[in-house]
Symmetry: C2
Subunit: 454 residues, 2 copies
Amino acid sequence: MTNHWITQIESILKTDQYSKSISELYRHSHDESEHPPVEPELVCFPESTEDVIAIMKIARDASIPITPFGIGSGLEGQAIPLNGGISLNFERMNQIVKFSPEDLLVTVQPGITRLQLNNIINRHGLQFPVDPGADASIGGMAANNASGTTAVRYGVMRDQIVDLEVVLADGTLLHTGTKAKKSSSGYHLTGLFTGSEGTLGIITEITLKLHGIPEHTIAASCTFETPHQCAEAAHMILLSGIPVQRMEFVDAYSIGKVNAYGNYGLPEKHSLFFEFAGMKNAVEEEAALAQELMHDMNAENWRVAADSEERAMIWKARHEMAYAFRHQSGMTVTGGDVCVPISKLPELIDYALELIAESGLEGGALGHIGDGNFHTTISYDAKDPFQKLEAEKINEKLAFRAIELEGTCTGEHGVGLGKMKYQDAEHGAAIAVMKNMKRMLDPDNLLNPGKMFA
Amino acid sequence: MTNHWITQIESILKTDQYSKSISELYRHSHDESEHPPVEPELVCFPESTEDVIAIMKIARDASIPITPFGIGSGLEGQAIPLNGGISLNFERMNQIVKFSPEDLLVTVQPGITRLQLNNIINRHGLQFPVDPGADASIGGMAANNASGTTAVRYGVMRDQIVDLEVVLADGTLLHTGTKAKKSSSGYHLTGLFTGSEGTLGIITEITLKLHGIPEHTIAASCTFETPHQCAEAAHMILLSGIPVQRMEFVDAYSIGKVNAYGNYGLPEKHSLFFEFAGMKNAVEEEAALAQELMHDMNAENWRVAADSEERAMIWKARHEMAYAFRHQSGMTVTGGDVCVPISKLPELIDYALELIAESGLEGGALGHIGDGNFHTTISYDAKDPFQKLEAEKINEKLAFRAIELEGTCTGEHGVGLGKMKYQDAEHGAAIAVMKNMKRMLDPDNLLNPGKMFA
C-alpha cells in the first residue's frame, strides 16, 4: 500500500525525481557521524524552488517531516531523517544562479559543492574561501554555519552570506536579505536561518560574498615540545596582528597517524601549520615575523613549503586526519568540537589529552587554533560498548568544561543530534526564546524534527 | 497627580536615578535627526542590569513603553519615545565589565562610548575599530547595527559582537552567545538582537572583538572629474584585493562646504580618501599599488598625508561633513543612507546628484563607497514646507531605486521612524516573520513602540 502523500508527490514530480529504492533510502539514512542511521520513507530530488514549495505543501498537509540532505558530509547527524518522512536531496539544485564578479557576489543553489563553485569562479580570480575540509554542499555549509581552516581570516559561513532564499513550513517563500554588502534594515533573518540546521525553513538559494585569490601564498610549519606551547605560540601570532590565512594545530599522535596513512614524513611532534597570503612583500614580511616569533617561543623544525605542490600536500595531510583515524579496520572515530576564548585553549587542550590518556583509548587533538576551536579524534572499537561509552564520556566532559570556560560545545560541526544534551547548559534562558522561534516558524514540527532541541 | 507606576519606580531607585525635569524630558525627546521630538514621561538612569530588570517589570505590569537612550546621536529617531513612557538612559552604565586583552575581547555596559572605550584599550595596543563618526554609545551602536568608515575592513557592529546580555519584555535576563570567537550552537540570537533597535529586548552588556592597532598607517586622497569615475575607481581598488582600512567618497560640492566650515584647503573636486594600515612594508606596497591603479583610472591630485597630524585632519574633515551642512543658519539637513551592490553605485550616485540638481536644493553625496553605501546631505529651510517635502522626495526616490537595484534603504543608520515606509518593499514576505518575532518577544508592544514596523 502506498501512502496518500507519496502518491501526491509522485504526481507532481518527474519519475526520476523521487525514489524508494533500498540503496537510496540507505544513502539518506546517515551522514559521516557515528549516529545510528534512520531511513526516510521517500527521497525527493527537487530541481527548482517551485518543486521544494510543492513538496513542502504536500508534506505539511499530511504532517510528514522533511529533512534536507546536502552531500551527507555532516558530523552530527543533521541529515538523518529521525522521524522518517522525506529526505530532500539537493544534488540537482547545484547551479550558479547568478555570478556577479563585479559585485564580489555569487548566488547559488544549495546543492553545489564548495569545490564545484571554486572550480568555476577561480578562473575569474575569485574564491569562496570557507573550507571545512569535506567537499560539502554550500546549502549544508549554510544550514550548519560551517567554517574550518580559513575562518581565522575570513570568518564563518554566517559572515559570508548576504541573502538566503528560504521556503517556510507553510510554503511561504522569502528572502532574508538583499544583495547589498551591509544593511541595518529589519531583523537579521540571514543570521538566524544560517546555522538553524533545516529546523526553521528550507534554504533554496544562497548569496555569498567572494574574495580575490591572493597574489602570493606561503605555507609553513613548526613543532613544539608540548601542546600547551603550541597554543601559546598561536596566541602570540594572533596578538602580533599577523593576518594568517590559516593556523592549525595537530598533536604528535595525530601526526603519527597521518604519516602512517599517507606517508607524509612530517616530524612526529606537536605542530603548528601556517598559511600566509596576500601581496608578495606583505606575505614575506608576515612569514618572516612569524618565524621570528616562533623562534622566540622555542619552536623547532621551522619549515617553509618550497612550492605550491608541497603547500597543497601539507593541507591535504591536515584534511586527511579524520580519515587516517578511520582507516584502522574495525575502528570508529568520534570527535569533539569545542571552542573557547583563545587564552583558555592551552588549558583545554591539556585537559582533552589527559582525558584521552586516562581512558586508555587512542586519540589526539587538532584544530583551528586561531579561533580557539579544536577537535578530539578518539578511535574506539564500535563493537565494544564499553569503549564507545568511554569515548563519549571524554567528549562530554570536554564539552561541559568548554562551556564552563565561557566557550561553546560546538565551534563548527553544529548541534544536530550529538550536541543537544549541552544546549541547556550553554544557552540557559535563551533556550526558551529559541524554542519559541521554532514553534512560531514550524508549529507542526515538520522541519528536521528531533534536532537541536529535545 | 503622580502615576502609580512612577511612584513604584521612584521607590526602587535612588533619588538621582530618575527625572521629570523639563530639561531632561527635552533632552530625551529627540536625537540628531529631523524627526519631531516627543517627550517621555520619565527618564530613568539605571546603574545596573538589576535596575533595568526592576524598571522593566514595573513598566510591563503598568503597560508603560520603554525606549532606550544612548547619547542621542542616532539619525533615524530610534531614541525618540514616540508613545511617551520611560526613556532609559544608559549614561551611568558606562563601565568596562571585563577587559580580556589575551582573548582580544572586551565586555562593556551599553553606555560607554566608542572613544571612552578606545581611550582605555588603546594603551594595550588594541582598538575597537567600528567608527560611525559620532562618539556614539556602544549600546546604541549595537542596537542600530552601526558601521561607518572602517566597515570596508572590519565589517559592521554585528560582525564584532560575540555576546549580548539582554533583558526581555517579561524581565527575563539572557545571554545570546558565549565568549568563544565562533559557535555553531543554537539559533543566532546575537545577530537578531543586534540591529533590532530596542524593539525586541534591552541590551545591558555587549562583548566585542578587539583588534590590534596597526603598526603603520598611510592616508591618501585623489580627485576625479565625475562622481561616476570615483565609484569606478573604488570598485577597481576592491577588485585588486588591496585591504583598505577606509575608502570614502566625497563629492565636490561637499568638499566645498567642509572647506568653508573648517578651512581645510582640500581640492574642490570629487574625491576619494583612503587609509591603508598594517605592517610597514605591506602598507607601503598597498599604497603604491593603489596610486598606480588610480593613475590608470585618470585620477588627479594624488596626495599622501605627510604625518599623523595631516592624516587625522583628513578624517576630521570627513566626519565634519554633516556639521558643515548644518552650520548654515536656519537650514536643516536630511540625509539618505542607501547601500547597493558595488557595481550599481556609479548609477545610483549619478541618480542622487541629478535628483538634487533638479530640485533646486543644495546638497551633495558622500559615503562609504567600498561597501556600496553612501549618504546624501540635502539642506533645506526648515520653515519652508515645500523645501522639506522636496528633500524628502529625493531621499524617497533614492531609497526605492536602491531597493530596485537589489540594495537596502539603510546601510547603517537603521530603520527607526524614517525608513519604516520602505520595509515592505525591501523585505517582502520576510516582514511577516519579523512582525511575528516582535509579537512573540514583546506581546504588549512596550519595547520602543512605533519603530521599525507600522
